[in-house]
Symmetry: C2
Subunit: 295 residues, 2 copies
DNA sequence: TCACAACATACGCTGAGGTTATGATACATG
DNA sequence: CATGTATCATAACCTCAGCGTATGTTGTGA
């Protein structure tokens, strides 16, 4: 950095070289012509050579001046490009939402169109996370788990109700209906790896006051998204969190099996990363998600 | 240019990003730490985003900060390179000598080794000019012609004596010696195009108090360098300016024909382009050429 | 828990760099 | 060749942008 001359001289020279006269450069830089003259003279003293040949009017750029002009054009151009990109990104009002992948896939993405319509001036960026991954930064953070009693600003999303669902085609094949079914003779879809974090069948049966059938058939999956896709494909019955799969229940792709349901302390919770200090954009997105989840 | 933020902010950020702390950047920039802090804060306000994450100590650069650092590194790097080259060239002490091509070819170039040995710290640049060309700029300017009575600092180089010379092989073939020769039965080498500027045979005979032989054979050339080369090749007899062809006369490649000689007002004159205001390097080169021409 | 280092902010001060006025000079035009 | 115009350089004067110091806040490591 100590190798560079003063930027006031470089910018004065750059303007004069592009405009052709010191007078025009002064107009661009919003200073007087003598100010430009002195700046360039100081630069020439520093460099030890002339950048303009003053024996002509207007002054003619020298070869050294042309060399420097090219370097400044390229160097300043690169900096200008990056600065413009940074400014534009800063002005484009991006809000990042981080959520578990199941929530993203089945609740958030289906509603993204509505969300974006509600905030046409914002760019919504979704970061999906799998269970067990380290928390990633977002403006709005949605997590699954037990309530954090210290996070007073955390909002619970969706219901605490957990109930079995299945594809109607599956029930048909089994000669069952949502009203009349036998859980002991169906295939239960499970996610054993996430057992400690998720509401699983044994817990559900116990919470529903029922005895889990012995020797029941099951299929296990490593992610909730895969499990739900298997259910949608008619592979068995699985547990749904109240609210997460509403869109499938509404379209009839899935049906809720009638009968007892269970409740869980676990659930989805949403916060703004900077809490009450978060900007208005973030607060508005958080509010929208909260309201939509309460419908 | 208006797109760029202030360079005091950019340079402060650049130093902080490279050093890792604002405190270290302050040391590089020779300002206090609060000065760096304010500069970077002003830059961040201009850009509309944070370049450092202050929730850590030392502050951690953000992604936008990394983007900007890369652009500054590249942009400033290019400018630094060119500035260094310009500074080095300015310090390398170049002196340019402009002279007629004949003078260059037969007097200056043969002595260039001595000249460069005398000034090892200087770079001597020779610009050779043909007769009739527009004057080209040089620190030391050597011209041929009549003395310019207004150029009081102009120095006459070499003798005013003009005399015939030839290759000894040519004289041999003609059965002549430098002492015993007959100019009416030789081939005279001429340069008719430069007649008005140069000392030609008719003028020489007249100045020597002799009658030019009628019907003498001659060969004409467009440049002095070509004429001299023809003479060296034994093509005839030609007029030499006292001093210009000394090296050939000393080695015996050419011999002076004894007998009358002529004098001319015309000659070679040397000046420093900026006169007495010229730098010491230029004055020294002019002095050396002047002294060498007087030997 | 404490010491230290790093960063942010308030306040007062000054000289770097601005302006205006004016002179010098190259260039175009009549 | 004289004249007007535009461009650049320099002198003199002025002021406020940006500095330093003092001090407060906070993250980090022992």
């Amino acid at each position: 950095m100590r190798q560079l001359p003063g930027f006031s001289g470089l910018t004065a020279f750059y303007a004069a070289a592009r405009h052709g006269t010191l007078t025009a450069a002064a107009q661009e830089l919003n200073v007087s012509q003598p100010a430009v003259s002195r700046r360039i003279a100081a630069l020439e003293a520093d460099l030890g050579c002339l950048l303009f040949d003053r024996s002509h009017k207007p002054a003619q750029i020298t070869q050294q001046g042309r060399d420097l002009l090219q370097a400044l054009h390229s160097g300043f151009g690169q900096i200008e490009n990056t600065v413009a990109q940074i400014r534009q990104a800063a002005q484009s009002r991006v809000v990042t939402v981080t959520a578990p992948s199941g929530f993203v896939a089945f609740w958030l993405i289906p509603r993204l169109g509505q969300l974006e319509e509600s905030f046409p001036d914002l760019t919504i960026r979704i970061i999906s996370q799998e269970y067990g991954e380290a928390a990633r930064p977002g403006d709005v953070v949605i997590r699954f788990g037990l309530p954090d009693l210290e996070a007073t600003e955390e909002r619970r999303l969706l219901s605490t109700e957990v109930f079995p669902v299945a594809s109607p085609l599956y029930l048909d094949r089994r000669g069952m209906t949502p009203e009349q079914h036998d859980l002991s003779s169906v295939t239960l879809l499970t996610m054993e790896a996430a057992r400690s974090q998720w509401h699983d069948w044994p817990s559900w049966f116990q919470a529903a006051g029922m005895v889990m059938p012995r020797g029941v058939r099951s299929l296990d999956f490593s992610s909730y998204a895969m499990l739900v896709n298997a259910g949608l494909a008619g592979q068995g019955v699985f547990l749904a969190w109240g609210g997460v799969l509403d869109t499938f229940l509404q379209t009839g792709a899935l049906v809720r099996l009638h009968g007892p349901s269970a409740s869980s302390l676990r659930g989805y919770f949403a916060t703004a990363r900077d809490g009450l200090a978060a900007g208005q954009d973030v607060q508005q997105i958080l509010d929208w998600i909260t309201k939509e989840a309460c419908k």
